[in-house]
């Protein structure tokens, strides 16, 4: 075959392939449209039977169940999708009825099987879907999925195990997540926040062992913001004095969220941290907790070099009731020009932004002053 023949042959192959792809796409789409119309009809029927089944006594429920089970394959698919959607919306007995329906339709077994799929996304979605079932087969399958070669699958399995209250020892879980480098993921934070709500003390043991592990300390410090057990404050105080900047800021943010007044000393100490990020978060925490005795320090921070520290301090002062707002008004009163006095300007602008004080534009204030009137700031 010479070059010319090769070019023409390649063109021909590409043209035929393109044509075939397009024909297949159109035929497939026509089939899908027909199927969608049928599904729409079937969906209405299934929805009706499904609600009856959820709402009925055992005997009539069995009849509805039989009706559902005897449906054809396409209808089974619609049934499954509908049931999964409903499971995410309801709780209790009705949800249990739905999950038993899914089990009987073979969905759980398919998910367990999918955990061994070669496609990562199939494994991840299977691990995630298994949170609907709380039997021992599911539990074993999910525990095995914690050793999956992909971190996202491990994380999804951990999420499902948490939902069915079957998580392994937290140290083991952390080790498995760390192996795949997913501890920094925001989804891990969500998982641990939920753990903090359910079993706050389980985090304490982890915190005690987390000494060299910065990422774990950040996850724990973040999760502790959701804990209702104030014994965790001790750990947060320790994290708030950690060497790592991110650990310190995360711990202070959590202390602010928890709003426990005992955090006062730690917050006060952090207001003079060398890093502006820590000072800014500490100022925010002081406002959230309502530490009125820190008003003088916060007023001083209105002159900080960092804009964020000035802003968070002003916000905190506005959160601290009459005393804080008075401090802001006093600082705002000495604003003379746009370029003057960053702290006073921040105070004035924040008062206006929060609707606590109408700000007169600087130009008007200057005119008023020239005319011998007292600017409204003063």
């Amino acid at each position: 075959m010479n070059l010319l023949q090769f070019i023409w042959s390649t063109s021909l192959v590409l043209a035929l392939s393109s044509l075939m792809v397009m024909v297949v796409l159109v035929l497939r789409r026509m089939r899908d449209e027909r199927r969608a119309r049928q599904e729409q009809h079937v969906r209405g029927i299934i929805q009706k039977i499904l609600f009856n089944y959820m709402d009925s006594d055992w005997m009539s429920g069995q009849k509805d169940l039989n009706n559902l089970m005897n449906m054809n394959r396409a209808a089974q698919h619609v049934l499954r999708t509908l049931t999964i959607d409903l499971c995410h919306l309801i709780q209790g007995q009705e949800r249990q009825q739905l999950t038993s329906l899914l089990t009987r339709s073979g969905f759980r077994d398919e998910c367990v099987l999918d955990l061994r799929s070669k496609i990562v996304e199939d494994r991840r979605s299977a691990a995630s879907a298994l949170q609907l079932f709380s039997d021992s087969t599911t539990e074993q399958a999910l525990l095995a999925a914690l050793d999956d070669e992909d971190g996202r699958v491990r994380l999804a399995a951990a999420g499902s195990l948490k939902m069915i209250n079957a998580l392994p020892d937290l140290r083991v879980l952390v080790q498995k997540l760390e192996e795949k480098d997913v501890l920094a993921s925001r989804d891990v934070r969500t998982l641990f926040r939920d753990l903090a709500r359910r079993t706050p003390l389980s985090l304490r043991q982890l915190a005690a062992d987390a000494d060299g592990d910065t990422q774990l300390k950040i996850v724990l410090a973040d999760a502790m913001s959701e804990a209702s057990d104030f014994r965790l404050l001790e750990d947060l105080y320790r994290f708030a004095n950690d060497d790592d900047l991110d650990v310190r800021t995360t711990a202070l943010r959590s202390l602010g969220t928890l709003q426990h007044p005992d955090a006062s000393a730690v917050v006060e100490h952090s207001l003079s941290d060398a890093h502006w990020q820590v000072r800014a978060v500490a100022a925010g925490a002081a406002g959230q907790i309502g530490l009125e005795h820190l008003v003088p320090q916060l007023s001083t921070l209105l002159d900080d070099d960092s804009w964020w520290v000035r802003f968070r301090s002003a916000e905190a002062l506005s959160d601290l009731g009459a005393t804080g707002r008075q401090a802001l008004r006093e600082r705002a009163a000495i604003v003379r020009s746009v370029n003057d006095n960053a702290g006073g300007r921040m105070a004035a602008l924040l008062l206006d932004e929060h609707g606590l004080h109408e700000l007169v534009p600087f130009a008007d204030a200057e005119q008023a002053e020239t005319a011998g009137q007292v600017p409204s700031h003063a």
Partner: protein, 481 residues
């Protein structure tokens, strides 16, 4: 003597013609091979992609850990569409989101429409000037929607307006959106995913942009997807599908993504600290979004900071495509100019191993597609008939090569359509699919050539150092079908 000179000239012409034709063929074949590789990589990447979750599940999964985002939309003479697109932004489903509309010194009643429709009041919102921009006249806050901020500033261009937005926003992430675009309700929940998975390394995320002409729009939302009735927007739909589902996805997968949104800046989420670290948007280019991404690559490579810039395949943003040749030509010339400005500004990265994959793959790709592609293709169009007539070119080869180029283009477009059908399924009806297939065939006859001519004009404007944006006439989404 004269005879010898004539022979030499003919020989020189013959050799030159061979070289030029060789160059045209090499560039053409390389471009086609790159497209083929991109198609294969994109197919692989989209197979691994998560199934699109339903809206409720998406919220349950992502909302608890979603970081705050500020949406920054520069607006210049957007009176026709500003109210609809602002409503679209306000109706986004996202837990912590503020909307900043930057009125960049519009000459029409853009600001007044915003004031009237959203009950704006002057606000003294304080901010730090980190990225330089033209003076701000007034900041407004909505009484109806506390998360809506409108910044009225002196005209300084889109990049300047975005810089003002970066200064004024207070979220760790910001999203640049064109004020003439409409976002999907779950756009941010989709696009924020890479920031949730890798919060320490991901610094920018782009999303897929679709053509809104032909869609039914109500209350700033696309309520029913449709194809444009006019030919020009329909051909652009083919282009957008190819660009987003093949080129962007493949480049992202290979870690060499240089342009994260559509043309320039229609949608992109950036880490605010990362954008500030490189000095924000450059106001001296018309391709500010592309330039910012390149500067982020360059900075992180030079500082040896681990980072990722990625794209998500989900359609997140709808934009109004130009439906007249005049407006489209201006847009394409501007895009070309922006690409060239950015390329030459970062020329030292080209083939430089210090810049990793971006230097070794991303920049050579830009060289082939953006820099050399248009002139070489137009040179081909001009030379082939001349050389054919003068007998310097084998007509059989010329015809065969032309056919191959045409068929290859159709093949890649068909591949993008197949990817769209299998992974996103957003083309509404079989009838629309047939219309798109028709578009794939005819775009090679006239539209592609026109595009290249506009891009050559863009080259010329770049050489003349033209800086203006040109008017972009919008009809507004209200007039969509």
């Amino acid at each position: 003597m004269l005879e010898q000179l004539a022979i030499s000239i003919v020989q020189w012409l013959d050799t030159s013609a061979e070289w030029v034709v060789g160059l045209v063929i090499v560039v053409g074949v390389t471009q086609n091979l790159i497209s083929l590789i991109q198609l294969l990589v994109a197919t692989h990447a989209l197979r691994r992609r998560s199934e699109t979750e339903n809206s409720e599940t998406l919220w349950q999964q992502r909302a608890p850990s979603a970081p705050p985002i500020s949406m920054i939309a520069p607006a210049y003479n957007e009176s026709a569409s500003i109210v609809e697109s602002t409503r679209s932004m306000l109706s986004i489903r996202y837990p912590h989101c503020e909307v900043l509309i930057v009125n960049d010194g519009s000459k029409d009643d853009t600001l007044q429409k915003l004031i009237d429709n959203f009950a704006l009041r002057p606000s003294a919102r304080d901010f730090e000037i980190i990225t330089p921009h033209k003076p701000i006249r007034q900041i407004y806050q909505s009484r109806k929607y506390p998360n809506l901020i409108v910044i009225d500033k002196e005209n300084g261009g889109k990049a300047d307006a975005l810089n003002a937005g970066i200064n004024i926003c207070r979220s760790p992430l910001f999203c640049s959106v064109d004020a003439d675009s409409m976002l999907e309700a779950d756009a941010l929940l989709h696009a924020v995913q890479p920031f949730l998975s890798k919060p320490d390394t991901v610094i920018a995320v782009g999303g897929t942009i679709r053509v809104a002409n032909g869609c039914r729009v109500r209350g700033g939302k696309v309520v029913s997807v449709g194809l444009p009735r006019d030919l020009l927007p329909m051909l652009q739909t083919v282009e957008y599908t190819r660009a987003f589902l093949i080129a962007r996805v493949a480049m992202s997968e290979l870690g060499v993504l240089t342009m994260i949104s559509g043309a320039f800046g229609a949608f992109g989420i950036f880490s605010r600290p990362a954008a500030i670290a490189v000095g924000g948007y450059d106001t001296n280019t018309v391709g500010e979004d592309y330039e910012l991404v390149m500067r982020m690559h360059r900075y992180h490579q030079e500082q040896r900071i681990p980072y990722e810039i990625v794209t998500v395949a989900e359609p997140v943003c709808w934009t109004e495509a130009p439906n007249t040749l005049r407006v489209l030509s201006r847009q394409r010339k501007r895009w070309q100019r922006g690409s060239l400005e950015t390329f030459f500004r970062h020329l030292r990265m080209l083939g430089n191993p210090r810049y990793g994959r971006i230097g070794m793959i991303g920049m050579p790709f830009s060289l082939l597609v953006d820099v050399l592609g248009p002139p070489v293709e137009v040179l081909g169009y001009l030379l082939v008939p001349v050389l054919w007539i003068s007998g310097l070119l084998n007509p059989n080869f010329a015809l065969a090569f032309l056919a191959l180029t045409f068929v290859f283009g159709v093949f890649i477009s068909a591949g993008s359509l197949a990817l769209e059908e299998v992974s996103l399924h957003r083309i509404p009806k079989a009838r629309d699919l047939l219309r798109l297939i028709f578009g794939i065939f005819i775009e090679n006859f006239g539209y592609r050539q026109l595009n290249n001519i506009w891009r050559i004009q863009g080259w010329w404007e770049f050489l003349r150092k033209k800086k203006s944006w040109g008017e972009m006439t919008r009809t507004g989404f209200q007039s969509s079908r």
